[in-house]
């Protein structure tokens, strides 16, 4: 049943010109970034591994943004188009419905990763870091994006409005991304250090730095960054479950 929802979403969102325009724009951004970074690396203005780390942050950041915008409308569009009532009156369980939508969002992330793969291979050429680069972007990106999608679905079920969900989701994304871009000198106080420890985006960027710049490629060497992501994934799942319970209590039509 979730497969039906998943395929319907792919046809309605991804394989349309609107959906593909996002991917073309992402490819253009990756092209420009790679070209500029490789030009700088050739002038030895930028160390090759630092360049790879910058590219990895661009790929992850772009994916987070596109998936956030897309996921914000996946569930709320059913309410806006007034198809939610008939949908939830059908024998489709809410869990299957959410799973189908979740897989559609994750498919978008994997499509962006597929587009980024040639860029990763060509920019990492000669460093021997291409497999680690690709592997860790896939692993860390999947964990982070999976968690963000669940948070956005929870927000969608609470707000039931595209505008409110999108605004809140973008604010949440900014709240995680902006502090992650601060240099280490701005993270000297205990509060900033604690937030850096729990911030999923900060953990993703720090792990990629560890792998690409410091050559610490094993899972055990990056476990300090991966386990907070797993905890965040659990928290996001818990938030989505609470939102589902509240949605069921309130009914499809509020007050029902």
């Amino acid at each position: 049943m979730f497969a039906t929802v998943w395929l319907k979403e792919l046809k309605a969102h991804l394989f349309t010109w609107k959906g593909l325009v996002w991917l073309v724009l992402a490819a253009l951004l990756f092209s420009l970034t790679c070209y500029l970074l490789l030009t700088d690396a050739e002038l030895t203005l930028l160390d090759h591994t630092e360049m790879l780390w910058l590219l990895s942050m661009i790929i992850i950041g772009t994916a987070f943004l596109i998936v956030t915008i897309d996921a914000s409308s996946l569930i709320t569009s059913e309410f806006e188009k007034e198809t939610a009532e008939s949908l939830f009156l059908s024998p489709l369980p809410l869990g299957q419905f959410i799973l189908g939508k979740l897989l559609a969002s994750l498919t978008l992330w994997f499509t962006i990763l597929l587009i980024a793969t040639p860029y990763i291979i060509v920019t990492a050429a000669g460093t021997g870091l291409a497999p680690a680069f690709l592997g860790y972007v896939a692993l860390l990106g999947t964990l982070g994006i999976f968690a963000i999608i669940m948070i956005i679905f929870g927000i969608s079920l609470l707000f039931r409005s595209i505008k409110s969900t999108l605004t809140t989701s973008l604010v949440v994304l900014l709240a995680f991304t902006v502090p992650a871009l601060f240099s280490s000198t701005l993270k000297n106080n205990p509060a900033a250090q604690f937030f850096a420890k729990v911030n999923p985006v900060d953990n993703i960027f720090s792990s990629l730095d560890n792998v690409l710049v410091d050559f610490q490629r094993s899972i055990s060497q990056n476990w300090q960054f991966i386990w907070p992501l797993l905890v965040f994934l659990g928290v996001a799942f818990g938030f989505m479950l609470l939102a589902v319970k509240r949605f069921r209590r309130r009914g499809v039509v509020r007050g029902d």
């Binding site: 325009v21 092209s31 070209y35 490789l38 690396a41």
Partner: protein, 183 residues
């Protein structure tokens, strides 16, 4: 019973000692007796991205040792007529020399990274505490050629190919949908 030394005796000992101490201090000079020369004038031309070494030497041509000399590079962009911020050009902008004996020559060396193409003038400056005027080497001119590579790291096939391929896919999907609607 001990006799206390008289005040006259104390002054007669202290005053000559002070005069001797003062005589040991170098007099404040207008220009330090230092000679600065850039040795690598002929080999500085290069291409953006190159790393070169600026070799220089500093000689104490005066009769007395000089201490606490600070030397640094100064670079001017001759095209824009502006001094260049050496932050990206050289990590070691200054070299401190604790002491140079009379007649001694000390070698100096800076590793410089050519960042921006253009025409430049370089001098080495030596600053000595107590001297009003710093010592400056003769000017060395050099050119940095631009590095032109339109396809760094063979990225162009991917950078152009991927967006073009996706745009073609976009057109195919659009055309397919229009055909379905027409049917």
């Amino acid at each position: 019973m001990t006799r206390k030394p008289s005040l006259l005796l104390i002054f007669s000992l202290v005053l000559p000692a002070a005069a001797i101490a003062e005589a040991g201090q170098p007099a404040v000079a207008a220009t330090p007796p230092l000679e600065l020369k850039i040795l690598s004038s002929a080999s500085l031309n290069g291409t953006a991205g190159d790393f070169v070494t600026v070799d220089a030497r500093i000689t104490n041509v005066g009769p007395s040792p000089i201490s606490g000399v600070a030397t640094y590079l100064s670079l001017i962009d001759m095209e824009n007529k502006q001094p260049v911020d050496l932050e990206d050009w050289s990590a070691e902008r200054g070299a401190y020399i604790p002491a140079i004996d009379a007649g001694q020559t000390v070698p100096l060396s800076w590793k410089v990274h050519f960042v921006v193409p253009g025409s430049y003038s370089l001098v080495v400056v030596a600053f000595t505490p107590g001297c009003e005027v710093p010592q400056v080497s003769t000017i060395t001119h050099f050119d940095v050629k631009p590095k032109q590579n339109l396809n760094p790291g063979q990225v162009l096939p991917v950078a152009i190919g991927m967006p073009v391929a996706l745009a073609l896919l976009l057109l195919l999907v659009g055309a397919g949908r229009r055909r379905k609607k027409a049917k």
